[in-house]
């Protein structure tokens, strides 16, 4: 039994690195299709009695390997995203077990602000944070400030991510921060997107993230 669970843990680790969510997924070389992915492996591990904590530990370790491979130039953003997706697929399976044991993941509300439909950057951040073990609540694009504030309050989220590509829509970020503070919510607000700058972020009382890795760093330092 121990041997089987060790093997499963190893396979989960391997498949996170390969970025395989489920058995239909290919790995980074186009192979492995048909073999169980993170989703199936986590399910099997849980059924076999492996503790959710142990699985999360293994996933975190795998993501560290992925991060290192990115740093050394062996992996690229598509690899990071695929791995994060695989983690996310595993987390979906894990979630009911976590809530039943009272464990929970930090919540992160993310949105592209009102008037803006650009969401590539926002999607990368959402994925990578999911991969880093956050419970990401993605509100999508063109999201009014009130809806963001309402969600943050309802979910009791401690982290908020706002994205805007246009200088015209960027101003909405300030509005969101203002409304959050007016409601007495002190969640940390991360902002990013082509139009946003360090000085603008400072002006509205938010944290500037140059890219998705900046966002990861910012939440890790929390």
């Amino acid at each position: 039994m121990v041997k089987i669970s060790n093997e499963l843990i190893e396979q989960i680790n391997e498949n996170v690195i390969k970025g395989r969510r489920h058995k239909e997924d290919e790995d980074f070389e186009g192979g492995s299709v048909g073999e169980p992915g993170v989703e199936e492996l986590v399910e099997e591990a849980l059924k076999g009695g492996v503790k959710p904590k142990e699985i999360i530990g293994c996933i975190n370790e795998a993501m560290e390997v992925v991060g290192k491979k990115y740093e050394t130039g062996e992996f690229f953003i598509p690899d990071m995203m695929a791995s994060a997706e695989a983690v996310s697929a595993g987390m979906d399976v894990l979630e009911p077990y976590l809530s039943s044991t009272g464990e929970s993941m930090d919540k992160f509300v993310i949105a592209t602000v009102e008037g803006d439909l650009h969401d590539i950057g926002k999607n990368i951040v959402a994925l990578l944070l999911k991969g880093a073990g956050f419970n990401v609540i993605d509100l999508g694009t063109n999201v009014p400030a009130d809806k963001i504030v309402e969600t943050v309050r309802a979910e009791d989220a401690k982290l908020v991510g706002l994205s805007a590509l246009l200088t015209t829509t960027m101003r909405r970020m300030g509005e969101v921060v203002e409304k959050l503070r007016a409601e007495g919510i002190d969640a940390k607000v991360l902002v990013g997107g082509a139009a946003v700058s360090v000085s603008y972020a400072a002006e509205i009382g938010a944290i500037y993230c140059k890219d998705a890795f900046g966002a990861l760093e910012a939440v890790k330092n929390d």
Partner: protein, 492 residues
């Protein structure tokens, strides 16, 4: 085998125009004919029915049309070039527009980059800048250039890039040294010109010792038989005759200069270029039928301020595109020319200048494109850093011209699109991974930065590649070579 990239060739001329040029070249070879400063060539043409008239310093050979046409038919369409490593061998087919790139020239000067720190008078901020230093090339440079090119993935063959000007290099030992320096540092095909025809057999024997049982020759030769316009040079013509007698592959190159030693206009240039190359091919086939030859097309235009070569001129490209088409008309593999410019320094200007020819000559479908890496200031200077930049850019061109795979990709793509539309993020990144990791796409431009940063990055890359070892010739074979030939001990 290095397959090359099969392209749909860009062509300027119609079939009828190719035939007109062919006829014009034949008519040039009859009248005014070729002026030969080489006696043996005259005798060979004389024996085969050409009309000879003697002058004080040369002979005029009037070559009958039939003799040229008959001889060209004997030139093989397929030329096989071996290499120390079998995966590097080349099979050039003159009928097929399959493109490969290699180095070339025998540049006298090496341009080094040193890094110096400068402090801004205004801000006091210190920054590093590249500083250029020029010096004469040595045999060590040739070893290092071959070493670098062994590591550059887009170099398909190696032609000596540097003229070795060491004090202990003599006319008697230059050939064995340049071939050894090249062969010891790269497992790709090696081609070079011959300094001293008396050393030809030494060079061939050395190459055969190195290649062992390999049937394809790991070396081949270049001879610039004609001095434009239309003159057989004594020594290079002798080189051709001797190489052809031994059946070794040889590029017969001609380099008429539009505006000085050839007409500036396209038609005149092309007719003369073709006549000069056909004269060489005819001679090679008369010496030995089926001598493997490359159609060596190296035409260019001159500058109008000093009549120096102007490789970056638009006409140079136009002539070269036509040369490739002419070679294909005969079904003979084309040794063509791209990647030379007029810039004196590595970096942006040089790369832009070079890319015009890299791209268009590749599009024209030349089988064997020389001069493509590292040259600056025409063919005078070689820069290791520029060679690395050229490698990246040629890699992009090869990638751009890759054969389409619509049929096999389509079903896969439809599945992918449907799957991605079911996700929240709607991104296709995961499916890019297999191409990324197979090396099919370059992830980003590797030397991003302002002009200075780029050069500093490339310099660092050069140092990295030169410190990464190559598979040299096995020790026991080296030992034999050093016993038999006058190869300098210090390049062992």
């Amino acid at each position: 085998m290095r397959e090359g990239i099969l392209v749909k060739p860009y062509e300027r001329l119609e079939q009828e125009q190719l035939e007109r040029i062919h006829e014009a070249s034949l008519s040039i070879l009859r009248d005014p004919g070729i002026l030969s400063y080489n006696k043996e060539a005259v005798e060979i043409f004389d024996d085969n029915g050409a009309e000879i008239s003697a002058h004080t310093e040369y002979w005029r050979i009037s070559i009958p049309e039939g003799l040229v046409e008959e001889s060209v038919k004997h030139a093989p369409s397929v030329v096989q070039l071996g290499a120390r490593e079998r995966e590097n061998r080349l099979i050039l087919d003159g009928r097929e527009p399959r493109v490969r790139f290699g180095t070339g020239s025998e540049a006298n000067i090496i341009l080094d980059i040193a890094v110096e720190d400068f402090v801004s008078e205004e801000t006091g901020i210190k920054r590093s800048f590249p500083v250029f230093q020029r010096r004469r090339g040595t045999i060590q440079d040739l070893c290092q250039a071959a070493h670098l090119c062994e590591h550059l993935p887009n170099v398909d063959f190696f032609i000596r890039t540097v003229n070795i000007q060491d004090e202990d290099i003599t006319e008697g030992n230059k050939d064995v040294n340049k071939f050894f320096a090249s062969l010891n540092n790269t497992k790709k095909h090696v081609m070079a010109g011959l300094t001293n025809v008396e050393k030809l057999d030494d060079v061939i024997r050395m190459a055969e010792i190195i290649s062992g049982d390999n049937n394809e020759p790991v070396i081949s030769f270049i001879t610039c038989v004609t001095k434009s316009p239309l003159q057989f040079v004594e020594d290079t013509t002798q080189n051709l005759i001797e190489i052809a007698k031994r059946g070794y592959p040889v590029s017969i190159s001609a380099s008429p200069q539009g505006g000085s030693t050839a007409p500036l206009q396209e038609a005149g240039m092309l007719a003369q270029l073709n006549a000069e190359i056909l004269a060489g091919i005819t001679l090679a086939q008369l010496v030995r039928k089926k001598t493997p030859v490359l159609y060596g097309s190296v035409p260019l235009r001159v500058r109008m301020d000093n009549l120096d070569n102007m490789y970056g001129a638009p006409e140079t490209n136009r002539y070269n595109i036509d040369g490739v088409q002419m070679a294909r008309f005969y079904g003979i593999p084309c040794y063509s020319t791209a990647g030379i410019g007029d810039s004196r320094f590595p970096g942006i200007e040089a790369s832009v200048n070079k890319l015009l020819s890299h791209l268009f000559i590749a599009l024209s479908g030349a089988q064997y494109i020389h001069y493509a890496f590292g040259l600056l200031e025409g063919t005078n200077t070689f820069s290791f850093e520029q060679a690395i930049l050229d490698d990246v850019h040629i890699g992009m061109i090869k990638s751009m011209l890759k054969e389409q795979r619509i049929e096999e990709e389509l079903q896969d793509s439809l599945t992918m699109i449907r799957e991605v539309m079911n996700t929240s993020h709607k991104m296709f990144t995961r499916y890019a991974r297999r191409y990324l990791h197979a090396g099919d796409v370059i992830p980003f431009y590797p030397f991003e930065g302002d002009a200075n940063e780029t050069l500093l990055k490339v310099k660092a890359r050069n140092e990295e590649l030169l410190s990464s070892p190559v598979d040299e010739i096995p020790e026991e074979i080296k030992k034999r070579i050093f016993q038999e030939f006058d190869v300098l001990e210090r390049i062992k």
